[in-house]
């Protein structure tokens, strides 16, 4: 495994986390995180679309004329979303039912189009695939954390396991205002922890990153600033 590919995955999870750093795809983030289960379903289906759409668009980047690249990208993304939607309907009907309209709406998720525009159009298919995988994992993790917190406070449960009696739960957190409040708190915690990200310059490295764990390993291979889009094509 080349360092470049690991770097892409790390970039998607921590440095340019689509939810907490890039603040992309807010509509599914806020709407589908009413429970941890829904959040994971949304995250994984988006990841599947993101990986393959990045790869296909990157493969077609020299064929698609620049003028019609947006329609071209949307056709690819929409086809992939349709595949994912039909697969989910066939094999995971429960998730399909609970996510409802938000599965077809993955087409207009700005993370997918954003990565296609910002990364896949300039990089090789394998790198783009890793970028999609990293972004997808970052999105899934962020959504799962958000969904777990909202489900715990809003319904007293995580993944459906009742931890706190229902009458002590604070219902607003399962509704739209709670989504905004929890998202703001999680983004604030992320900023406070000063994980090396695109928004805080990545200068200050906290102790645990250099202490030899996974994050530390990732940190060593980090090379260029995240804001620079590498043009390898």
């Amino acid at each position: 495994m080349n360092n470049k590919y690991l770097e892409r995955i790390y970039n998607g999870i921590i440095k340019e986390n689509p939810t907490f750093i890039l603040m992309l795809g807010m509509c599914p983030t806020l709407a589908t995180t009413t429970s941890a289960f829904n959040a994971i379903g949304m995250g994984l289906s988006t990841t599947a679309v993101l990986m393959f759409s990045n790869m296909v668009i990157s493969g077609l980047r020299n064929i698609i004329p620049n003028r019609v690249r947006l329609p071209g990208e949307i056709v690819v993304i929409a086809s992939l979303v349709t595949i994912v939607q039909l697969l989910m309907q066939a094999y995971t009907p429960a998730v399909y039912e609970s996510l409802g309209i938000y599965i077809p709406l993955i087409v207009v998720n700005c993370i997918i189009l954003g990565r296609a525009e910002a990364y896949a159009l300039f990089n090789t298919p394998v790198l783009s695939f890793c970028d999609g995988l990293g972004m997808g994992i970052g999105f899934t993790l962020a959504l799962t954390v958000l969904g777990s917190v909202r489900e715990l406070i809003g319904k007293g449960a995580i993944f459906g396991f009742q931890l706190i009696p229902e009458e002590f739960s604070i219902g607003i957190f399962a509704l739209a205002p709670g989504a905004f409040i929890v998202l703001a708190f999680l983004a604030a915690i992320q900023n406070k922890l000063k994980l090396p990200s695109a928004t805080n310059g990545g200068e200050e490295v906290p102790e645990f990153v250099t202490s030899g764990d996974l994050l530390g390993a990732f940190n060593k291979i980090e090379e260029a600033p995240a804001s620079e889009v590498k043009k390898e094509a």
Partner: protein, 315 residues
């Protein structure tokens, strides 16, 4: 604090009144209605009031201690927030609910925006709406009072459901022998407190009077009862309008500072309250009207800056 900011050249007038004195006056003004609520509803109401105030003050202290800020609980503003929130709760509510609300009011609505003077929404009302959405059933479970008093729903809900107007006794509404939140029911006690605040020049009667008048005109025009003074009086006395108008709409931080702006603000409040009450889903709309109008206060301030002396002709 004041000495630190003493940087002026002109002979600016300096008043001796401090934030803590004003806030203490507000607390004093709310004592009659608090006592009335406690006497009418008993032990649980007293517990709600005491614990909510305690939690509000403690959470402000804890936050400031944790963030290493100056401790400002001495200015009484946290106590005022807690007290208003407690008076906005129904008397039979489980006591932990307003305590959660008090923590939310202080930490999320007030302190996260930078503390007193920087919050754009009235903390007590924001927390009340937070609780209203979270615990809809418990926040609107009204206690029935006395054998000769109105029972079941609040007067507003009673009227909204198309109840017979003749059964509404205006004297009960005025004195407070009606179901409602701990502090909103006795209009007599509230007006005594409001008079104290106006005499002490803590609040100006401008916003409350225009606000109530607008609600009166709005319900007269769109209430669907024709020219019925009795109905309009029921709308004014039946819910939290008096409490909201005198004690919450006049909050210094979240109301406009320009003279014209205050008129605009009060009229918008009145129209919003009328809209929510007559055409909205629930019978009461004062708290949502106030917090929604709080949001546009900066715009009102900006658009109503008075022209400087001698520059009236400039366009």
């Amino acid at each position: 604090m004041n000495k630190m900011l003493n940087l002026s050249s002109n002979p600016h007038i300096r008043d001796e009144v401090t934030t803590s004195e004003i806030m203490r006056d507000v607390v004093i003004a709310m004592i009659p209605t608090t006592l009335y609520g406690i006497i009418q509803w008993g032990f649980n109401a007293a517990l709600v009031v005491i614990l909510t105030v305690a939690f509000a003050v403690l959470s402000e202290y804890a936050y400031e201690k944790f963030m290493k800020m100056t401790i400002t609980i001495g200015d009484w503003s946290a106590a005022v927030t807690g007290l208003i929130l407690a008076l906005n709760c129904p008397p039979d509510i489980p006591v932990w609910i307003p305590c959660v609300g008090a923590v939310f009011a202080i930490i999320v609505i007030k302190m996260l925006y930078g503390g007193l003077g920087k919050n754009w929404m009235n903390p007590a009302l924001g927390a009340r709406c937070f609780l209203l959405i979270s615990f809809a059933g418990k926040m609107t479970g009204w206690t029935v009072v006395g054998p000769d008093a109105m029972s079941g729903a609040t007067p507003l809900a009673f009227m909204k459901a198309g109840g017979d107007m003749a059964k509404v006794d205006l004297m009960n509404l005025f004195l407070g022998r009606i179901p409602g939140t701990i502090g909103e029911v006795s209009k007599l006690c509230l007006l005594i407190g409001a008079a104290y605040l106006i005499i002490k020049k803590v609040i100006s009667p401008k916003i409350p009077c225009i606000y109530i008048a607008t609600v009166a005109v709005f319900t007269l025009l769109f209430g669907g009862h024709g020219f019925d003074i009795n109905y309009v009086l029921c709308e004014i006395l039946g819910g939290g309008l008096i409490f909201g108008a005198f004690f919450m709409a006049t909050d210094y931080v979240t109301s406009p500072i320009t003279p014209k702006g205050q008129i605009v603000y009060a009229i918008i409040l009145g129209v919003m309250t009328g809209l929510f009450r007559l055409f909205g889903g629930s019978a009461e709309g004062v708290s949502y009207a106030i917090i929604l109008t709080n949001i546009i206060v900066p715009v009102i301030n900006l658009k109503t800056i008075p022209k400087a002396f001698g520059r009236e002709d400039e366009k």
